[in-house]
Amino acid sequence: MRNLLMKEMKLSASILSYLFIAFGLMFLLPGYPILCGVFFSCLGIFQGYQNAREANDLVFSALLPVSKQDVVKGKMLFACFIELCTLALMAIAMLLRMTVFTDSVVYRMNALMNANPFALGVAFLIFGLFNLIFIAGFFKTSYKLGKPFVTFIIVAFVAIGIAEALHFFPSLEALNAFGTEHLTLQLSLLVAGVLCYIILTWLALRSSMANFEKTDL
């Protein structure tokens, strides 16, 4: 699997897959829908898939001495690597906003979603949706990229809109907690987001492996 991950990193990926990890730092932006950072990171992974398709990457990979299922595992592992790097930057930005910048006026006056564990949990959820909608969608044909990515864009922006709107509803203000307020609730929501990510990614992997095995290249 290490060899396949290296192949993904050195041959299949687009440079944008790596550069767009930096959008995780959008969690530092005040007055901006910070979850858009997830979308940009996914766009970087999408660019990698586009590059790989033009480079006959799937056929090359399927001819290597690995099973076709391992080819899919390698691609999913690389996507998870990019996603977790982005999430790590988001987590660092979130911790900075919850501690060092807790008295910062720009963050206190922020009208949009705060960078808190709930926001990070939603970021995990949206990455999970990307894996299920885009990656598993791509492996239905191992060729068509547009439809699954457009579907993901719609779902992702609906999810971002809902996450941004929720704290304006009465009794849901705690979702937009600042600093260490409502920490138990916030951490529970983060754990729920991580669980969603794991489940969605597992479902995506299972479906992708089954479909790729049946696909004629």
Binding site: M6, K10, L11, D57, V59, V66, D216, L217
Partner: protein, 240 residues
């Protein structure tokens, strides 16, 4: 003992059926797989590599079914296809660096010698290569890990006559080491020059899978060249 056995390979597409294709390959022999465009050569080869899933039939290497032993078998076989570019914007050196760790038997000395023989520059990317050089580049990777079976899809297409001749001589050298070579072509002189066996496919069906001498005895008429015999047979098959 046969090193590759194909039994009743069947695959149906709209308008085309690969129909119960069966043949076998022996170690240390070169089999030329001949047929006109669209006869089913590439579908057969892709089925032999699990890139295409046959509706029916079996593919066995070294006495093991491909299904369930894919990784183990692919480590022992080499594949190259015409002028397809893998990673057209990556340098050959970088593609090699990633490919090498997949094969325990990768032989750097062998790689270097073919690199020199094919006059390939490692710092070039596949998109900078001519079609003929792309064929050589693909062959370079197939030949560098000590494969026991080489499956080559139109390896001579796009090559100049000198390179083709060189390549067919290389096939002869490789065969002496016990490697089985299976190559598809529609250039009959390639078959005449180096094949021991002929696998002839027409309209998705195997017409003959026999040693070249037997093919001549059975199908060539007095004074007829191999090319003329194929053209006559092909017309006959098509008229049927």
């Amino acid at each position: 003992m046969d090193i590759v056995t194909i039994k009743d390979l069947t695959k149906t597409y709209p308008g085309f059926t690969l129909d119960s294709v069966s043949f076998s390959l022996a170690p240390g022999r070169i089999a030329g797989f001949i047929g006109r465009n669209g006869a089913g050569k590439t579908t057969t080869i892709k089925s032999m590599l699990n890139l295409v899933h046959p509706d029916h039939g079996q593919v066995e290497y070294f006495g093991m079914p491909l299904s369930g032993n894919e990784a183990q078998i692919k480590r022992r076989i080499g594949y190259s296809t015409g002028t397809i570019s893998w990673y057209p914007r990556k340098r050959i050196r970088d593609i090699k660096a990633v490919t090498k760790p997949f094969y325990d038997s990768w032989d750097d000395a062998r790689y270097e010698s073919f690199l020199r023989l094919f006059a390939l520059d490692e710092s070039k990317t596949p998109r900078e290569l001519s079609d003929g050089m792309k064929v050589k580049c693909n062959l370079l990777f197939a030949l560098s890990h000590g494969a026991e079976v080489l499956i080559l899809d139109e390896p001579t297409s796009g090559l100049d006559p000198f390179s083709r001749d060189e390549l067919l001589d290389i096939f002869e050298q490789i065969k002496q080491t016990g490697v089985a070579i299976f190559f598809s072509t529609h250039i009959i002189s390639d078959i005449e020059k180096c094949a021991d066996d002929i696998v002839y496919i027409s309209k998705g069906r195997i017409v003959a899978a026999i040693p070249k001498e037997e093919f001549a005895t059975r199908h060539q008429q007095p004074g007829e060249s191999l090319e003329e015999a194929f053209l006559r047979l092909e017309r006959g098959v098509l008229d049927a």
